[in-house]
């Protein structure tokens, strides 16, 4: 019975994807070329892009931007959040501001960054950083708050030194929350990446989308969007995997 249901599930999923491809193709033939391009034309354009090496160059440029900003965000957000776990007064003092910054739509700062820092790589990486750092920091602080004071007291009464306390209590209890932040930061960082490529100097996959839109080359636009969608799905799956991997630590004493 279970077997048959699985079969029906996969068959429906495959049929639905096939239907989507057919609708995409037909819609492209029915409308003007500027509005939508058939799937076949889009894939041909994607193939050209890949064969000429442009795709690899653009994707590498986008990924460099994303990884730089994102790595900085984790490198700043996680240690800062962890440090606040041990400095309770400082944590109470700043956590509401972190919450406000977490809820702030960071895109609104792009025009300021543009007019102060210009078009280089650094301001773009700064945008990705700003998009990604607050989910990491906020969730790490949340985790820090979840460490029960009794645990710290028990560790201290067994004469744990500061390093052991971190290794056995603080980090294992906080990291699962950090990973939730990392998953959210991946999604936000991607938005920051494309926004930086659109609104600062055009570069990477964002530049290809803009080129397509300016030249009414809808196939190029759709092909580039498709690449970003695949990139997004892959990165977010990685984030979800990381989160699940560390979620096992949650509430389970080591």
């Amino acid at each position: 019975m279970q077997r048959r249901q699985d079969w029906a599930f996969h068959a429906t999923a495959a049929a639905s994807l096939a239907l989507g491809a057919i609708v995409w193709e037909i819609a492209g033939h029915l409308t003007s070329g500027a509005f939508w391009a058939p799937l076949s034309v889009t894939l041909a354009r994607l193939w050209d892009l890949a064969a000429s090496g442009v795709l690899a160059a653009r994707a590498a440029s986008s990924l460099t931007l994303f990884v730089t900003g994102f790595a900085l965000a984790v490198a700043v957000g996680a240690p800062l959040g962890l440090a606040l776990a041990r400095a309770a007064r400082l944590r109470i003092a700043v956590e509401s501001y972190v919450m406000v910054l977490y809820a702030t739509p960071m895109v609104a700062l792009i025009p300021f960054i543009l007019s102060m820092l210009g078009f280089g790589f650094a301001p773009k990486a700064l945008i990705v950083f700003l998009f990604a750092v607050f989910p990491v920091l906020y969730n790490t602080i949340e985790g820090a708050r979840s460490v029960r004071p009794e645990l710290v007291e028990v560790a201290q009464s067994f004469r744990s030194n500061e390093w052991q306390l971190w290794r056995d209590v603080m980090i294992p209890y906080t990291l699962p929350y950090t990973m939730t932040g990392v998953r959210l930061a991946i999604g936000r960082g991607l938005v920051g990446m494309v926004a930086a490529e659109f609104f600062l100097s055009p570069s990477g996959l964002g530049q290809e989308i803009m080129l397509g839109s300016q030249n009414f080359d809808t196939a190029l636009m759709l092909a580039s969007i498709l690449v970003i969608v695949v990139l997004g799905v892959v990165l977010i799956e990685i984030g979800r995997g990381l989160e699940e991997r560390f979620a096992r630590w949650r509430g389970v004493p080591r």
Binding site: S16, M210, M221
Partner: protein
């Protein structure tokens, strides 16, 4: 043992010291952050860069400016309308996916990949289809918000405790009543979690659409004023966006505590 310790032991309730009160710590941190901002800008940045004293001076005139009020109204209205559409549509699709296995099979790849798509990428498509108009902004807002609600509601509908459904079956509840009176209420905490995500995304969507297509609104107000180096004025619009984002979060967590105290979700 000196007198002070004895007095502390004897006191029925030790008075909390001011320097440990949370509100005091927060106030100090806020003042320090603003002072650092002000001093850094004064010392190192050009005169046009936004700083707290300049922003405070700009707040009055900006809030009295009818053009600004129109911009704020347009943006927040688009966000509210887009969220309303996303709640209605996203909940319907989410319930369908959560309760009907084949609907789930047919839709999940689309919903998941559109959820993972950074909403900024569809800006050129949205302007192509809807023109450089408020409709394009609304489309981007809906795109930004819809799928986080769908994904969360479908998770919620999938994890309805089976006992609830059994009770419904024993009382011979119809399919509609099961959905409306059992599945939907039990998915509400998930809906609110999705809405929380959707609210932030919707604000971002509205602002980027205004940047991209020069649609009158808060985003365009920021863009225009920062281009003419009136950063203090532009920053007031940022503050309104922050207030909207924070206000939304606070309202949702209040709703959650007030009406769904039974829901415990991490």
């Amino acid at each position: 043992m000196n007198g002070a310790t004895l007095a502390a032991i004897a006191a029925p309730e030790p008075r909390r010291r001011l320097r440990d009160a949370p509100w005091f710590l927060r106030l100090v941190a806020g003042v320090v952050l603003l002072a650092v901002w002000e001093l850094v800008v004064r010392a190192f940045a050009p005169a046009y860069v936004a700083k707290p004293t300049g922003i405070v001076r700009a707040i009055g005139p900006v809030l009295a400016d009818p053009q600004f009020l129109a911009a704020a109204g347009a943006t927040l209205w688009a966000v509210a309308l887009g969220l309303a559409i996303s709640i209605a549509g996203g909940t319907a699709v989410g319930l369908l996916m959560g309760r009907a296995r084949l609907a789930d099979a047919g839709l999940r790849y689309y919903v998941n990949s559109l959820f993972a798509t950074p909403m900024v990428t569809i800006l050129p498509l949205a302007t192509l289809w809807f023109g450089y108009s408020g409709d394009a902004r609304l489309a981007v807002v809906v795109f930004a918000a819809f799928f986080s609600i769908t994904v969360n509601v479908s998770d919620g509908a999938r994890s309805v405790p089976p006992e609830y459904l059994e009770v419904g079956r024993s009382f011979r509840a119809s399919g509609w009543r099961t959905i409306l009176e059992i599945v939907l209420p039990s998915s509400l905490p998930y809906l609110l979690a999705g809405l929380r995500l959707a609210g932030g995304r919707a604000l971002i969507g509205a602002v980027v659409a205004e940047f991209f297509a020069s649609i009158p609104g808060l985003g365009y107000y920021i863009l225009f004023n920062s281009r003419t180096f009136k950063h203090d004025v532009a920053f007031v619009a940022v503050l309104v966006l922050v207030a909207a984002g924070v206000g939304f979060e606070v309202t949702l967590s209040w709703l959650m505590r007030r009406y769904l105290p039974w829901a415990r979700r991490t």
